[in-house]
């Protein structure tokens, strides 16, 4: 081969090679994704830093944005949908119990595929059920199932926002204010409702919805607002409530103390919600253990805050 010929071949090889290297992966990917034309493909990526399962493409380039819209996939009754679950950072678990999906563990970099063929219309909640970091409790959303051609129902689930980025209260804030901040910033409100008003449904849970916490004072046997004030003041002053047994600040203090201890314990250790139908799926919202993530003082702060709430 003459040098000239070789040169021409090399130039062509270069141009074609570069083009092919750039485009072929995308061609292959779309063939791989849409290999069955009658199947709807739903790509969901769990992004811890954004606190969402998102339908947006999360790649090396845009991962830094850390801001991805929560997915609200729309499926059709009777049409197969293929879910492709990915994780952009840590291990997540995808769970949509009402739709009979999961829990499926999703490891970073692995793609988990499964197919769903919904039989009835409705709006179904999905969750992440591996506590994957601070933004974890926001990783929740809805899957809409409707008849083909129907107008899409609008969302009913309030978004939780980037609660974990909520700036802390000023250094001189009192115990209750700090408790209020913790209740929001740690994500308690995502399950127990804003201001602990409850009403968040929990699939196959004996009580139906996650317990409200705005009546905690009564649960702790403090039926008088004055008593609540006294107790909160004692907590505020940094006293260990156990040391007050000798000189009880409120009536029936021992009864209160027993309840207080059990609630503290529950927050620390968490609690697995009971099933309504024992053969049904595990309720997706579990009271997490807060041992590692809340100090003793912080737990007291949250309790103090909850005591001041009224239904």
């Amino acid at each position: 081969m003459s040098q000239k010929m070789a040169e021409i071949v090399a130039v062509f090889a270069t141009l074609i090679g570069i083009g092919a290297t750039i485009f072929l992966p995308f061609v292959y990917q779309s063939r791989h994704l849409f290999r069955d034309s009658d199947i709807q493909v739903i790509n969901l990526t769990g992004v811890n830093s954004a606190g969402t399962w998102t339908e947006e493409e999360v790649n090396g380039w845009n991962y830094w944005r850390r801001d991805f819209a929560a997915a609200r996939p729309v499926l059709n009754v009777g049409r197969t949908a293929r879910f492709r679950l990915k994780s952009a950072d840590v291990i997540h678990t995808f769970y949509a119990p009402a739709l009979g999906v999961g829990p499926v563990q999703v490891y970073p970099g692995h793609v988990v595929e499964f197919e769903v063929r919904p039989a009835q219309r409705g709006v179904f909640q999905y969750y992440c059920t591996t506590v994957c970091g601070m933004p974890h409790f926001g990783m929740r959303g809805e899957i809409v199932v409707q008849r083909e051609g129907e107008a899409v129902t609008t969302g009913s689930l309030p978004t939780s926002g980037k609660y974990w980025l909520e700036p802390p209260p000023p250094a001189n804030a009192n115990l209750v204010e700090r408790g209020q901040w913790l209740f929001h910033q740690k994500g308690c409100f995502t399950c127990h409702g804003p201001e602990g008003r409850g009403g968040v449904s929990n699939w196959n849970y004996v009580k139906g919805t996650v317990p409200a916490l705005n009546a905690l004072a009564e649960r702790l046997m403090l039926f008088d607002r004055e008593d609540v004030k006294v107790i909160v003041e004692q907590m505020e002053s940094g006293k260990n409530l156990n040391s007050l047994v000798a000189s009880p600040p409120v009536a029936r203090f021992n009864v209160f103390l027993a309840q207080y201890r059990s609630v503290r314990d529950l927050i620390r250790k968490g609690s697995t919600p009971g099933k309504k139908d024992p053969h049904g799926p595990v309720p997706p919202l579990e009271m997490p253990t807060w041992d590692q993530r809340l100090s003793e003082v912080e737990i007291d702060a949250v309790i103090a805050y909850l005591l001041t709430l009224q239904p």
Binding site: T14, G17, I18, W61, W64, S87, D89, V111
Partner: protein
């Protein structure tokens, strides 16, 4: 600078890397195996005009694929081919196979200068040869030797004709290593910046100025290639002395003049030879060849820049071993600024790394050489010669310390290599059926023994070459005394590594 009016006598590029003949030491006892004589097909391949294109082209495409994967693929580091293949596989192959056994063979297939060199030569395969006598003034491009080049073809500044830039760039890059290993996009930014810089430098400066003086990877390749078992050399000095055309330097119709500013027929060290095989093709007397040779055959450091490279490499190997293989998790946290956000820790880590690489380690070494020189008594040897001579043992020691360090990383990430091969973008492909193999970090219990073995090999070569240097410098009588402090230092250093690896 234009060289259009060049005369027939080819331009001798000032051999900034050439060392005075008096200092050149070729040990007559050392063996050489002329590979082109033993295996003529090798010679035929090396002489093919498209040898280098064929070597670079696949790597260019692979590089593009990696960049594409870094941008469009998964952000998860260990599932993106960019990170696993570049920083784990490529690095491991480079340090433990290419450099020790094939010198700077990587430079012959490196895709970074692809576009730059294409632009300079306006050729991928052919040669733009001209006859300087017949060349009229005002022709296109500029003529260097007997080849025509395009671009500005500036000379590289004399003051920068050393590897200091490479030293600092490499240290700077390595400071952020934890970032490369976790975020593909960081690797994309770094690698494409190098690619872009290489291209721009090729437009401005002649030939491989970028590779020689700027490329951050090139610095350690040049240092450790001294130990390599492969070399490009002339067969017979006399043939070269009588040679008129000096085609290896000036080019010919068969080949480009040495792009690395070397005078291949006079080459005594591997440091700045990119194994591009142009001189092999150029030589009309069939006098250039590729030899196999003993480990650690080039034994002379030329300047402080090269010595400092050795200090930097050793400090980095130590730091990385402590961070990545040591039991202190918080240190890794400090180094990994992007994930931890602990700026204080990161600054402390950076300060310690830079101070030890540039001041502390050289300082200690300086002390050891100084004491040694004192012990050796009165002698003619200048301190610089003593320092550079006795710094040479750091070449084999550093190289093997790096191999010892990289070895377990390779084992740990071995399964990721198979996985990313099947699914380079982390998009859920399974090209080879290996994307779902269970994640099995293989770090067998015998790993530390292998690591220590590598270190001992390094120590052996460090001590023997160091002693040989001492004899050359101080004579056989004073050699032991002169070398003792450095030898103790080297042994202590290896013991620290062994302790770190062996626990």
């Amino acid at each position: 600078m234009s060289t259009r009016s060049r005369q027939a006598s080819p331009e001798i590029v000032p051999g900034s890397h050439q060392i005075p003949d008096t200092l050149q030491t070729v040990d007559a006892k050392e063996w050489r195996l002329d590979l082109f004589r033993c295996a003529p097909p090798l010679k035929r391949i090396a002489r093919l005009r498209w040898f280098q294109f064929a070597a670079v082209f696949p790597n260019l495409l692979i590089f593009l694929l990696f960049i594409s994967a870094g941008i469009f693929g998964t952000p998860v580091g260990n599932r993106n081919i960019m990170i696993i293949f570049v920083w784990i596989l490529w690095w491991f192959l480079l340090i433990s196979a290419m450099v020790p056994f094939a010198s700077r063979i990587w430079c012959a297939m490196c895709p970074f200068p692809f576009f730059g060199e294409w632009f300079q030569r306006r050729a991928l395969v052919r040669v733009a040869a001209i006859d300087p006598k017949k060349e009229k003034k005002g022709g296109p491009g500029s003529v260097i030797g007997r080849n025509r080049y395009f671009g500005l073809n500036r000379r590289w500044p004399k003051a920068l004709s050393n590897i200091w830039i490479q030293n600092f760039l490499f240290l700077a890059l390595c400071t952020f290593s934890a970032l490369f290993l976790t975020r593909p996009i960081v690797s994309v930014v770094v690698l494409s910046s190098i690619f872009l810089t290489a291209t721009i430098f090729h437009l401005i400066y002649r030939q491989r100025a970028f590779c020689n003086y700027v490329c951050p990877v090139s610095g350690f390749l040049s240092l450790y290639s001294m130990a390599s078992m492969l070399e490009v050399r002339s067969r017979d000095r006399e043939v070269c002395d009588e040679c008129k055309e000096k085609a290896c330097l000036a080019g010919s119709e068969r080949a480009w003049g040495c792009p690395w500013f070397m005078y291949p027929s006079k080459m005594e060290r591997n440091n700045y030879c990119g194994l591009c095989m142009e001189c092999v093709k150029a030589c009309a007397h069939d006098n250039m060849t590729v030899n196999l040779r003993p480990f650690c055959s080039d034994t002379r450091l030329k300047g402080y820049d090269e010595a400092w490279k050795a200090f930097i490499m050793l400090s980095l190997a130590t730091t990385y071993s402590i961070i990545y293989l040591g039991p202190w998790g918080f240190l890794k946290d400090w180094a990994n600024i992007a994930e931890s956000g602990k700026w204080g820790g990161f600054l402390a880590y950076t300060a310690v790394l830079w101070a030890s690489a540039l001041l502390l380690v050289p300082g200690i070494y300086y002390g050891a050489v100084w004491i040694g020189k004192r012990l050796a008594g009165d002698c003619e040897v200048s301190f610089k010669d003593a320092f550079l001579g006795l710094a040479y043992p750091l070449v084999p020691l550093g190289l093997l310390a790096w191999i010892a360090f990289s070895f377990p990383l390779m084992l740990v990430n071995g399964s990721y290599i198979l996985m990313t091969l099947s699914d380079p973008f982390g998009w859920g492909w399974d090209l080879l059926g290996t994307s779902h193999i269970a994640w099995t970090p293989v770090v067998p219990h015998w790993t530390p023994y292998i690591q220590v073995l590598f270190l001992l090999v390094g120590l052996y070569y460090a001590l023997t070459t160091g002693y040989a240097q001492a004899r050359k410098l101080f004579g056989s009588e004073a050699a032991v005394k002169a070398f003792t402090p450095v030898a103790i230092l080297l042994t202590a250093c290896v013991s620290c590594f062994a302790w770190l690896y062996g626990g």
